[in-house]
C-alpha cells in the first residue's frame, strides 16, 4: 500500500535539524538549522522505499544469470498484483503459503540442476577433491562469492555462519554435493535472495523520522541492474562495486550507459513497454470465435513478436523517442500479420521488416496487437480505447462508470443495422453520460477504422465507418481529428504524453505510484517528444531518488 509522502523540499541541513535534536532529546523539531557541514543540499525529497520481492520475470532472469538455468520456473508461481501498474512493484506482495511451496519446489530443482550441469556457476574453479581441506576451501568460495552474488551483497557474519551450519549438519550423512545442494536450497528460499532490500545502511534506521538514508554501493548496483536489465548485477558491474569503482555519480552513469547496450536491457525495457501499453495481455487475450474466427493464439503471439521487433527498432535502431514510437511506420510481419495489414509477406515462417502505410498505420496506436488488446471481445471497443489513452498515455483517467448503465443496443434489431459508433452514440446524447463520454468516446471513435483485432475496415456492420474524433478537456491536445493517425501525430508531439510517460517510468523504476503531492518535475523535465525514452532511466539513475531514501 502507498503512504502519503511529504512533498517538502528541504535542504539537507534542515533535515539534520529535524533529526539531530530528536536524538538528543530535544523536542523542538522544527528549530532553525545551525550552520553545519552536512551532506550537500539536494533538490528533491528522496522517496520512501519498500521491500520489493522479485517478480516472476525477475526471478526467472536471476536464476538464468546466477545459475545458468533457463527453465523459467516462475511460470508456475502465483500471480502477484501490483498497484503501481508494473510487475516490479513494492506495495503488497506479501507471501502466502502456496508461494512458499512454489519457491521450495523451484529451489530444489534449481539446486540439483546447478550442481549437475553448471557447477562452475556455484563453485567457480574450486574442486573439493583437490586437497585435504578442499571441501572447506570450496565452501568458503561458495559463501563469499556465489552466495554474495545471490544476495547482491557480502553476507553478514551470522548469515555466513548459518549457511555453514546447514552444510555441517548435512555433510556427515550426505555427499559434499548433497550438503552443498541443501545450502543452495536455503539460499534460494531466503529473504536475502527473494527480496530486494535496497534500504540503506541498517544502523541509519536509528536516525528516526525525516532522516535520509544513503543506499550502499551494492544496493545501488542491484537497483541499477534490476532497473535496466531486470536482473542481478553482471560480472562487470559486480567487479566495479567490489573494487570501489561505483561510488560516484559519473561511475554510476557510465555503468548505466554500458548496461543499456546489453541484450538484457532490450528484454527488460521491452517488458516495461509491453506493460505500459498493456500489450502483455496478448498472451491471454481471447476473442469471440464467431466475430473474429482468424484470431488465434498463434496470431496473438505474432502480434507480440511484431511489437518486440517494433520496440527494438524504435529504441535501439532509430531515434528512441516517443515521437518515433507513436509515428514510425516501420515494423515487422509474418504471413498472418501481412494478411491483416494488407502487405505482401511470403507464405513461410518468420518475420520480415515491413513499411506500413504511414497514414493508416503510424506508430504503436495503430499496431494490431495494441488495437486488439484495447477492444471488446466481439467489436472494436471505442470505450476501452478512449479510456486507455486517457489513463495510460496522458495520465488523465476518467471517473469510473456509475451503476445502472444500460447495455448498448445490439448491432442489429428492428431499427436495422448500426455501426459500433451508433450503438454507443447515446453516451454523448444522454446528459449524465456525456460529461465523461464526450472525452472518452471523442478519442475512442477515432479508432473506428480498426476492428476488434486491429484489421483496417471501411464498413462496420455493412455501414460506412466514421472515424472522426475530437479531443476535449486536455488543453493543448484539444480539437477535432480524423482517424487514429492524426491523433497519434498530435499525441506524439505533446507535453501531455511526455509528462505522463515520465510518470510511468517513475512508477516502474521506483516500484510505487508517485505521491499525490509529489513533485517529479526533476523527471518530467528530462522527458520530451524527441528525447530518447531511455534518457529517463538515466535521469532516474542520476537523481538522489535513486541513491537515497527517506526514513518513514
Amino acid at each position: 500500500m502507498e503512504h502519503a509522502r511529504s512533498s517538502l523540499v528541504l535542504p539537507a541541513a534542515v533535515w539534520l535539524a529535524i533529526v539531530v535534536p530528536a536524538l538528543c532529546g530535544c523536542h523542538d523539531r522544527y528549530a532553525p538549522a545551525p550552520p553545519t557541514a552536512g551532506p550537500a543540499p539536494i533538490s528533491i525529497t528522496p522517496p520512501l522505499r519498500r521491500l520489493r520481492r522479485l517478480s516472476s520475470r525477475e526471478y526467472d532472469n536471476v536464476v538464468r544469470d546466477l545459475l545458468g538455468d533457463g527453465s523459467r520456473p516462475a511460470s508456475g508461481f502465483l500471480a502477484d498484483s501490483y498497484p503501481n501498474g508494473y510487475d516490479n512493484g513494492s506495495a503488497g506482495l506479501t507471501l502466502q503459503s502456496d508461494q512458499v511451496v512454489a519457491y521450495q519446489v523451484a529451489a530444489e530443482a534449481l539446486a540439483a540442476r546447478a550442481l549437475a550441469g553448471n557447477r562452475e556457476r556455484v563453485l567457480g574453479a574450486c574442486n573439493p577433491a583437490d586437497t585435504a581441506d578442499g571441501e572447506a576451501v570450496c565452501l568458503d568460495a561458495v559463501l563469499s562469492s556465489f552466495a554474495a552474488r545471490a544476495y547482491r551483497r557480502p553476507l553478514t557474519a551470522s548469515e555466513t555462519q548459518r549457511l555453514r551450519d546447514v552444510f555441517q549438519v548435512e555433510r556427515p550423512q550426505n555427499t559434499f554435493d548433497g550438503a552443498l545442494q541443501t545450502v543452495l536450497e536455503v539460499i534460494l528460499q531466503s529473504p536475502q535472495f527473494l527480496y530486494r532490500e535496497e534500504l540503506g545502511v541498517m544502523d541509519a534506521l536509528a536516525a528516526g523520522p525525516g532522516a535520509r538514508i544513503d543506499l550502499t554501493d551494492h544496493e545501488v548496483a542491484s537497483e541499477l541492474s534490476f532497473l535496466i536489465t531486470g536482473s542481478i548485477p553482471d560480472a562487470e558491474l559486480w567487479a566495479a562495486v567490489e573494487q570501489g569503482q561505483f561510488a560516484t555519480p559519473a561511475e554510476r552513469h557510465a555503468q548505466a550507459l554500458r548496461l543499456l547496450a546489453t541484450p538484457e536491457a532490450r528484454g527488460a525495457i521491452g517488458a516495461f513497454l509491453h506493460q505500459w501499453l498493456a500489450t502483455r495481455r496478448l498472451a491471454t487475450l481471447s476473442k469471440s470465435a464467431e466475430v473474429y474466427p482468424t484470431f488465434t493464439a498463434d496470431l496473438a503471439s505474432s502480434m507480440t513478436a511484431e511489437l518486440d521487433g517494433f520496440f527494438d527498432e524504435v529504441l535501439w535502431k532509430r531515434t528512441g523517442s516517443l515521437r518515433e514510437l507513436f509515428t514510425s511506420p516501420h515494423s515487422f510481419a509474418d504471413a498472418a500479420l501481412g494478411r491483416l495489414y494488407g502487405v505482401e509477406v511470403p507464405e513461410q515462417p518468420g518475420f520480415q521488416a515491413v513499411t506500413l502505410d504511414p497514414e493508416l498505420r503510424p506508430g504503436i496506436l495503430t499496431r494490431a496487437g495494441f488495437l486488439a488488446v484495447h477492444a471488446d471481445t466481439d467489436s472494436s471497443g471505442p470505450i476501452p480505447r478512449g479510456v486507455f489513452i486517457l489513463s495510460a498515455m496522458v495520465c488523465h483517467a476518467p471517473s469510473p462508470p456509475p451503476p445502472n448503465i444500460p447495455p448498448p443496443p445490439p448491432p442489429t434489431d428492428t431499427g436495422g443495422p448500426r455501426t459500433t459508433r451508433q450503438r454507443f452514440d447515446q453516451h454523448v446524447s444522454n446528459g449524465s453520460c456525456a460529461a465523461c463520454h464526450n472525452q472518452i468516446d471523442g478519442i475512442g471513435f477515432g479508432f473506428e477504422a480498426y476492428d476488434g483485432i486491429g484489421a483496417y475496415r471501411q464498413l462496420d456492420n455493412g455501414l460506412p465507418v466514421d472515424s472522426r474524433g475530437t479531443v476535449v478537456g486536455l488543453g493543448a491536445l484539444d480539437g477535432d481529428f480524423s482517424g487514429a493517425g492524426e491523433l497519434a501525430a498530435r499525441l506524439a508531439g505533446s507535453r501531455a504524453l511526455s509528462d505522463c510517460f515520465a510518470r510511468q517510468v517513475y512508477r516502474y523504476a521506483l516500484g510505487q505510484v508517485e505521491g499525490a503531492n509529489e513533485d517529479i518535475g526533476w523527471l518530467t523535465s528530462a522527458s520530451s517528444p524527441d528525447a530518447r525514452m531511455t534518457d529517463l532511466l538515466l535521469a532516474i539513475v542520476d537523481s538522489p531518488a535513486f541513491t537515497r531514501r527517506s526514513f518513514e
Binding site: 521491500l51 520481492r53 502465483l78 498484483s81 521450495q104 549457511l163 546447514v166 548435512e170 528460499q189 529473504p191
Partner: protein, 447 residues
C-alpha cells in the same frame, strides 16, 4: 536433522515478529486441542440477490423461498434436507456508502469491505480492502493457513480483467494485499495431497534455516517491511505444519484437468464453471474433513462478475443484462426476475452441496456442521447496486455458540461490520467490534 533448532527458536522468541493481528482482537493463548475443533467456511457471491424471492415468509421455520429452496431441499426428491433448522438468516444488513476517495463503486464497497470491515483503501485511485479479512484474522489467530478458492473464469469479461486486480478476491491478508484464490481444481488437489512424505524432514530443516534468515533480515527493517516478512514467516510455519500433519483420510481421485481440456478454462470459458465450482467445493469438504485446514472460502466469480449462467438456462451477462435491471425489490419484469432466481438458486444449491456434506459426517454428539459456521455473503443487496438488505446466511452451530436455527432475524438495519464481529465471536475470539467500528458487537438477536 535440525539446524540449531533451539538457537532458531530463541531468535524467533527475541524477534518482535508477531504483530497485533487486529485492532480489536485480544491476544489469546494458542488453541488447545479439543476433540472437535471449530471450522469456518465462507461463500461469497456478487451482484446481489432477488429480494422478493429470497426472504421466506414471516414466522416460517422451514425458511422456504424460491431461491432458498436451493439451499434447503434435496435436489432429487424436493424434500427438506434438514439444514433449515441449523440456519439463521440476517435481514437488514447494509454497507454505508463510502468510497473513501477511490474510483470504485458499490461492487467494491461490498466486495472489499464485507469481510474486512474496513473502509476502502485508495491505491492510486483503485479501491482496495483496507485491512485483513476475518478469515485471515482467524487463520492467524489459529496459526493455520486458509484454503482460498474461487472460479474466476468469465466469457463476458475474461479474468484477469484489466485494472480490476482488486476484484480478484474478497479475502485480504493485509491492507491492499489480497489472499489470492486458487482456481484450478487439479492444482488444489496436488497442493492438498502431495502424495509422498519423502523429504519432509529435509524440507522442514531447510525452511527452519530460511526462517532464521527471515528473522535476521526482519530485525533491521521498519514496521511496514517487517509486517511483510511476518506474513512470509507465518506462511513458512503453515507449510511446515502441513508437512508434519498426516491427513486423517485417503486422497480422493484426481479431479479433471480443465486446463488440459482448454487452456482458457480459467480465463474466458464459462463452459467449465459449474464443474470447477463443484470440484473445488468437494475439495474444500475433503480438506476440512481430513484436518488439512479449518478455514475454507469459496468465491463465485470476481467482484461484479459477469457469468452468463447458460447452465441454468439464463445465458445472459448477469451483471449487465440482468442484475442491473432489478431496480425494485419486487423485480422489474417476470422474465428478469426469473433469471435472477435461477442464478441465485444455483448459488444456494452450491452452498447446500458443502453444508449437507459436512452435516453427513458424524462428529462428537452431532455432525461436523454443528462444529462449523458456514457463511454465505453477497457484495450487494440488490443487483442495481443497492447496499441495503444484503442477505447474510449463517449455517451451523459453530460448536454450540449459535444455539438456535430456523430463524429470519429481522431487527431493522444492522451495519455490516457486525458480520466480522459475529464470526470472530462464535469462533471463540472475543471481540466487541470489527474493522473500523470498534463496538458494534455481533448481529443483534442471533446469540
Amino acid at each position: 536433522m535440525t539446524f540449531r533448532r533451539r538457537a532458531l527458536l530463541q531468535a524467533l522468541a527475541a524477534s518482535p515478529l508477531t504483530l497485533p493481528i487486529a485492532r480489536w482482537l485480544r491476544a489469546q493463548a494458542a488453541p488447545t486441542a479439543t476433540p472437535a475443533p471449530k471450522r469456518l467456511v465462507i461463500f461469497m457471491q456478487n451482484n446481489g440477490t432477488q429480494q422478493a424471492n429470497f426472504w421466506p415468509g414471516a414466522g416460517s421455520t422451514e425458511l422456504r423461498s424460491p431461491i432458498l429452496d436451493g439451499l434447503f431441499t434435496n435436489p432429487s426428491t424436493g424434500d427438506a434436507n434438514g439444514l433449515a433448522a441449523k440456519t439463521n438468516l440476517i435481514k437488514g444488513v447494509y454497507v454505508p456508502f463510502d468510497l473513501n476517495g477511490t474510483n470504485g463503486n458499490q461492487h467494491d464497497m461490498g466486495f472489499a469491505r464485507m469481510f474486512t470491515g474496513e473502509r476502502l483503501l485508495p491505491v492510486g485511485e483503485a479501491p482496495w480492502g483496507g485491512g485483513p479479512s476475518v478469515d485471515q484474522l482467524l487463520a492467524r489467530a489459529w496459526g493455520i493457513d486458509t484454503l482460498t478458492l474461487a472460479v474466476l473464469a468469465s466469457q463476458s469479461e475474461p479474468w484477469p480483467k484489466p485494472n480490476f486486480d482488486h476484484r480478484e478476491s474478497f479475502s485480504y491478508l493485509a491492507p491492499a494485499t489480497l489472499k489470492h484464490p486458487r482456481t484450478d481444481p487439479l492444482a488444489v488437489f496436488k497442493y492438498l495431497f502431495p502424495g509422498t512424505s519423502a523429504g519432509v524432514a529435509h524440507r522442514t530443516s531447510v525452511l527452519d534455516a530460511v526462517a532464521a534468515n527471515l528473522a535476521e533480515v526482519s530485525d533491521r527493517l521498519g514496521p511496514a517491511e517487517r509486517a511483510k516478512l511476518d506474513q512470509h514467516l507465518t506462511s513458512i510455519r503453515s507449510v511446515e505444519r502441513r508437512l508434519a500433519a498426516q491427513p486423517h483420510c485417503q486422497a480422493p481421485p484426481r479431479p479433471t484437468d480443465y486446463l488440459a481440456l482448454d487452456p482458457m478454462a480459467e480465463v474466458s470459458e464459462d463452459t467449465y464453471i459449474p464443474q470447477m465450482v463443484d470440484d473445488l467445493i468437494d475439495l474444500a469438504v475433503l480438506a476440512l474433513t481430513c484436518g488439512l485446514t479449518r478455514i475454507a472460502t469459496m468465491q463465485f466469480g470476481y467482484g461484479g462478475g459477469r457469468w452468463r449462467f447458460a447452465w441454468e438456462n439464463v445465458n445472459l451477462n448477469l451483471h449487465d443484462e440482468v442484475a442491473h435491471f432489478d431496480t425494485s425489490d419486487e423485480g422489474s419484469s417476470p422474465e428478469n426476475t426469473g433469471h435472477l432466481v435461477r442464478a441465485n438458486h444455483y448459488y444456494a444449491s452450491r452452498v447446500a452441496r458443502l453444508a449437507t456434506a459436512l452435516d453427513a459426517i458424524p462428529e462428537g454428539d452431532g455432525t461436523m456442521l454443528d462444529n462449523t459456521l458456514v457463511v454465505w455473503g453477497n457484495e450487494q443487496g440488490r443487483g442495481d447496486h443497492s447496499q441495503d438488505n444484503i442477505p447474510i446466511v449463517l449455517i451451523g452451530k459453530a460448536g454450540g455458540a449459535i444455539a438456535r436455527g430456523g430463524r429470519v432475524i429481522d431487527l431493522g438495519r444492522q451495519v455490516f461490520n457486525r458480520l466480522g464481529c459475529t464470526i470472530l465471536n462464535v469462533m471463540g475470539q472475543e471481540v466487541a467490534g470489527f474493522g473500523d467500528v470498534p463496538d458494534c458487537g455481533p448481529f443483534q438477536g442471533l446469540l
